[in-house]
């Protein structure tokens, strides 16, 4: 990043990676263009998703970042290589959209963005995904940070191979994941998919589940990895609607407005059983057991106590 600190030599032969037009059809610079585009895509997604301000984020900034993402997605669409795979994953989102439009769609779409490709990117070599923007400016495709300071004028040929391989292996991963979702992802998709059939009053609660679940899962996945780019990148690939709905839809406050005394179960007098019900519903995704709201909960009281203990931290 720029700022005070060690002064670097400014390479006169630099291609001007950012300043000049790098057409996608040029040979070796095609990869640089793709890499740059990927980096910018990652940065953009991170800006949108990681921002948790106390005040409303600037609409201008959001719109500009969103336009950037759209443009990149359009380009990728035109290039055609990645799109077809994700049609299946994005379809479940569509029937939901109408339902959600009436009842605060924002967070439900957060739930559906698949944590699917969570695994996808661990196969990509970190260097190619995590290219800090400053490396791009030096016009180096270093596979190791140590090379950075030498500032080679041409990308080392070895760099091309890993990038291409990682892309194709990443795509393979996605292919594997798509037809047979694993438990966590399946349950993430299920409550979201169930909503289209569920009662409108229940759908609020399901969406609320989706929210904490996706948030915790997201943070779980994000923490161990040094760069958050990978997960957010895949999110963008999968659903167009997701981005826009999150950005511009109303915020779903049903979770914050939840008052145990006025829950759908109607048992206003007793606090304990009501909260246990809610507890069960929020825990359902973790336990991988499909839970429909109308079934009385079958959990043991001892199990429930145990869970309460964990939550209360006593």
């Amino acid at each position: 990043m720029l700022g005070k600190g060690g002064k670097r030599k400014f390479d006169e032969h630099e291609d001007g990676l950012e300043g000049k037009v790098v057409s996608p059809t040029d040979g070796p610079s095609k990869v640089s263009y793709t890499l740059q585009r990927q980096t910018i895509f990652n940065i953009s997604l991170m800006k949108l998703y990681n921002h948790r301000p106390l005040t409303e984020p600037s609409l201008q900034k959001t719109v500009l970042i969103n336009n950037m993402l759209r443009r990149i997605q359009e380009e990728l669409k035109q290039e055609g290589s990645l799109r077809p795979m994700f049609v299946g994953a994005s379809q479940p989102a569509d029937p939901l959209s109408d339902n959600f439009r009436e009842a605060q769609p924002a967070f439900s779409h957060l739930a559906s963005p698949p944590l699917l490709p969570a695994d996808l990117v661990s196969t990509m070599p970190l260097e190619s995904c995590l290219t800090p923007a400053s490396l791009l400016e030096d016009d180096t495709f270093c596979t190791s940070p140590a090379v950075q300071h030498d500032g080679p004028t041409k990308p080392p040929p070895s760099a091309l191979q890993p990038v291409k391989d990682s892309f194709s292996s990443a795509l393979d991963e996605i292919e594997e994941l798509c037809p047979a979702p694993t438990s966590a992802e399946a349950v993430a998709a299920e409550p979201a998919a169930d909503d289209s059939k569920a009662q409108p009053s229940e759908s609020n609660i399901h969406k609320a589940e989706g929210l904490p679940e996706s948030r915790t899962a997201e943070s779980k996945l994000m923490d161990p990895l040094p760069g958050n780019f990978e997960i957010t990148a895949s999110t963008g690939f999968l659903t167009d609607l997701t981005l826009d709905d999150i950005l511009f839809a109303d915020i779903d406050t049903s979770m914050y407005d939840f008052d145990p005394c006025t829950s759908a179960t109607g048992a206003a007098s007793k606090m304990a059983p009501v909260s246990a019900d809610e507890l069960l519903k929020t825990l359902a995704p973790y336990s991988s057991q499909p839970v429909t709201p109308n079934q009385p909960f079958k959990m043991d009281l001892t199990e429930l106590d145990h869970i309460m203990e964990v939550l209360v931290g006593s």
Binding site: T55, Q60, M68, D244
Partner: protein, 427 residues
Amino acid sequence: ADIISTVEFNHSGELLATGDKGGRVVIFQQEQENKTQSHSRGEYNVYSTFQSHEPEFDYLKSLEIEEKINKIRWLPQKNAAQFLLSTNDKTIKLWKISERDKRPEGYNLKEEDGRYRDPTTVTTLRVPVFRPMDLMVEASPRRIFANAHTYHINSISINSDYETYLSADDLRINLFHLEITDRSFNIVDIKPANMEELTEVITAAEFHPNSCSTFVYSSSKGTIRLCDMRASALCDRHSKLFEEPEDPSNRSFFSEIISSISDVKFSHSGRYMMTRDYLSVKIWDLNMENRPVETYQVHEYLRSKLCSLYENDCIFDKFECCWNGSDRQVEFLSPIVMTGSYNNFFRMFDRNTKRDITLEASRENNKPRTVLKPRKVCASGKRKKDEISVDSLDFNKKILHTAWHPKENIIAVATTNNLYIFQDKMN
């Protein structure tokens, strides 16, 4: 909270107002010129300080509303008091700043400290008289224009009729009457029916200095639209559209973002307008829509750093620009425009000679009353002595707000926390 967020001279130049992130307004007043010290103009000293806006909480969205003052605009002076409009993201306030230097003394029923006198002790009557007192400057809010904007207000501009003003947020522009606080007219609305289709926002707006039915607004896509309120009540269709075609050799991922206009200012004559985008200042002739008549590069050396600047958000910095007073005074002032940059640098462009200069606003490098030394940024190649290389620029030290005295060559330059006032060397 001490971060300066706006700077504005009043119409005579005697007063200089600054707004900050903490919602405060500080007004400086120029000292009367000392006849004996003819070589320097009066200094600016603090005249009044008041809290204009307080932080608020939007309960519906669970978000805070910042008290940061986005803009201050002075009204022309009509009587002894001064009036200004100040705005944060949501609410505009009209403030009256008045002086009190006399107070009545000699009441019959009250003591000087306010206690009531025992009526039985009153034996004679007297007429209260005004006696001088220490100058007191009072600021009081006269009008509060609230709840008219869903999105964040970025501009206010007082009409040349001095009765109305416009306020612009990201998607709408409203017309207010200074006397009426509970109603406003919506004159521009670019909100799409489906918010997912939103790709462009309003970034700045200003009334024409002479024509009270004409105003312009700029967008995040680098266009400026001139609208005439006589054409229709809702000015969604522009009368003129100013846009420069993109230079294909400069195309990059960031072309759109750097084309976003952060400020638009009419010249005092109203014939020209100036726009500021991320890398340049452009002067437009209102009669020519397809390209500007002049373009000045502020910090072209940043063009190769756009990716980093995108990453650290600096690419979204909103720099303002300003004209000097040359339009009004036909004689001795050459037309100069000024804008800020990074590393506490600010730039001036002489429109006649086409010369430009870079100066620095910092205490370390400039002692008071010394002439500012021109600075130079070295973009590439060998760095000469006294030049600064691009990589050692401090991007946290940005000058976003500058103002030029309407009549004299006195400028106010705001760094993050400090206000600098410079004047040109006399004799």
